[in-house]
Symmetry: C2
Subunit: 403 residues, 2 copies
């Protein structure tokens, strides 16, 4: 286990795609241009947002790596990568989204604390690995266990990276045991992303993927899994990634008063055209973006408005892994497999710039996005899912005539 | 089975509490005054809303009643009430809410079709009975089955009442097999409500309770349970209780284009003071109400505004079955048992009438209520969960001086 180490400096960072927008250099936090998100249903690895709290860990000797299953596990395990790869492989298509996605827009209203993310702190991946429920069964905890015989109720994932917030300690997070042991929740011990071995930026050699939940619980560079009687008491579970009301500030905050964020609310954003871009009057413009909801709740519809929210048009849901027959919802349970993934959508129209394009989504539980960011403002700037607006300008006459 | 019958006329309706507000007489649809809802965490049986589509069924001979488990069940069952009562008893505290709750307010914006409900088409009950997952296990379908060996994917509940919408057929609805066989989903075959035998209005002798889901799936007066390859094709699943976008009207509606409503979005309402009531300037007024969310998502907080939504104050969550330590969320999974139940809340303050009191809630997945009903308007008037407003007037001087 000591062979997977979290460095204290940034001397050995992996290479990154130059098109990424860097929001923080050390630790490295970056997101792709929004147009890259709608270019494909599955986000390419190099275009997937990078969210780190310290230098990227290094695995010195893969053959010596061991994942330790500890704590209240009836059978303690120490699993090599080979042993994990020999277990039944499971694949899940899931969108990971940072809880801080769209934070910059929240900060524009009133300053919040945290990395300034645009609208691209998310990506949709095909994750390959082993169901955590299968591994926990090996450790003596049956599927669908709310509370194990010896009092285990939560499963903590412990990394090796050196986070400045934890005063040099590693990143860690937990989920309830019931979720971890539920095969339908599809919590994954992943060693592959989009059919390739995990890259260092995304958690090599092993990471957790908790579908439908904020990215912060999908711990990378996994060293051990601890079965605990209480939820993770670490910084990122107890003093971060919580949503406070708008009236709570840094003077009156009481961290234990709010629960750690788990599954996220319904969300959408317009990826093209980009904010501030020039549009020629009369040309057909393709408006496109993403929509998703947490907890396995699907997207019911996406609405677009060009008149400030007076009237709305339904956007077209693009084909993805699942084929949605037109004019019909999917009722067959076998076809509802991609419930953890985003929906890409588009709507083509002509418009008269300057104008504002607004988008909002409704999820399968009929939850909607709030209109104004002020109503959900919170000091950590998490879960900004207010209506997304993009302002487009009229292309100047000189440019228009030169084309 | 023939001994449980759905009459064609209204000659044998049960007695009802005179305080109920009757929204439709035949079939009988009525709700309690809002103040009755906040009077107790568990809603008394006679104050529980009554939602019917036909005359109330009559059970002639309880000893001859049989519940039939049919269709793709590996073992067909025919269960007497005695046999059902001999199975392991399970109790669940769950709020049932009609999808049409708060429909009248939606109709005020633009006319919708359906029974005109105020804000009280919901109630919180203690339901006693047998887990449906236990009964399906007896029928040969193990817990947590998404698709049975012989292709069953949905569980249909068939009643005996004569519904005018079904042209004389009985009321029916279905849920996915996975939900029906999931003990944690706590779908119940209930024979008791609040510790007493079910009353005729609430489904005697046997009803389904689907926690966290619109009331329409909690079928009353159960005759049979059918394991099916597809979801229920009946009127109430396929041509009602669906949510369409605001731009769909009765001329362009395509029923198969939208999914049947299942779990509902975050909701809250102010029960006291009542809309239009008189308040004396300077006196302390207790504002109180309910909040709930679907799918087992708990209530994170309830906010109240007295200045049109400019500023908000958090309401106090009242103690219920679970005891919430002050300034602390509930992290212990054993204590999260009442996740299907509403939260009652209150906030006491002085105010200067005339004024408007607004309330809105946030659920544990950070979903919020929409501000304006226009944004979620739909032709069937379902799931109106917009911010709730109550207007209070200044007590006339003459009344004030005479007190």
């Amino acid at each position: 286990m000591a062979l997977l180490i979290g460095p204290k400096d940034y001397e050995n960072e992996p290479p990154r795609h130059p098109a990424l927008r860097i929001n923080a250099k050390e630790p490295f936090n970056a997101e792709p241009p929004p147009s890259a998100l709608v270019a494909s249903y599955i986000t390419p690895i190099d275009m997937f947002y990078k969210r780190n709290h310290g230098p990227i860990p290094i695995l010195k000797d893969p053959s010596s790596y061991r994942l330790e299953i500890t704590g209240l596990a009836p059978k303690k395990l120490s699993l090599s990568l080979e042993a994990i790869r020999s277990l039944k492989k499971h694949t899940v298509v899931a969108t990971l989204q940072c809880a801080g996605n769209r934070r910059t827009a929240m900060s524009d209203t009133r300053k919040v604390k945290g990395v300034g993310w645009g609208i691209s702190a998310l990506g949709n991946g095909i994750w390959g690995g082993v169901l955590l429920s299968d591994v926990l069964e090996l450790a003596g905890i049956p599927c669908y266990t709310r509370r194990s015989a010896n009092g285990g109720k939560h499963v903590e994932f412990i990394s090796v990276d050196q986070c400045k917030e934890e005063k040099g300690g590693p990143y860690r997070a937990s989920v309830p045991l019931l979720q971890a042991t539920d095969p339908e929740a599809e919590v994954l011990l992943a060693y592959e992303m989009n059919g390739e071995e995990l890259t260092r930026d995304h958690g090599y050699p092993l990471r957790i993927v908790v579908p439908g939940v904020i990215g912060a619980r999908s711990v990378k560079w996994l060293a051990s899994i601890d079965i605990c009687p209480i939820e993770c008491q670490g910084f990122f579970q107890q003093q971060d990634y919580k949503m406070f009301p708008p009236w709570v500030d840094w003077n009156n905050i009481v961290w234990p008063s709010r629960r750690p964020l788990m599954d996220f609310p319904v969300q959408c954003a317009i990826c093209t055209p980009s904010d501030g871009s020039f549009i020629k009057t009369g040309t057909t413009v393709k408006i496109s973006g993403y929509a998703l909801s947490g907890g396995g709740r699907g997207i019911e519809r996406v609405e677009v408005s060009l008149d400030g929210g007076r009237t709305w048009i339904e956007a077209t849901r693009l084909q993805s892994g699942r084929s949605a027959p037109s004019n019909s919802y999917i009722s067959d349970v076998d076809e509802q497999r991609e419930k953890w993934a985003w929906v890409l959508w588009e709507y083509s129209t002509t418009m008269t710039p300057p104008t504002t394009i607004i988008a909002k989504a409704v999820d399968s539980s009929a939850n909607v996005q709030p209109q104004k960011v002020e109503d959900i403002w919170n000091l950590r700037g998490v879960l900004n899912n207010s209506w997304h607006e993009v302002h487009v300008k009229a292309e100047p006459q000189s440019i228009q005539s030169s084309l």
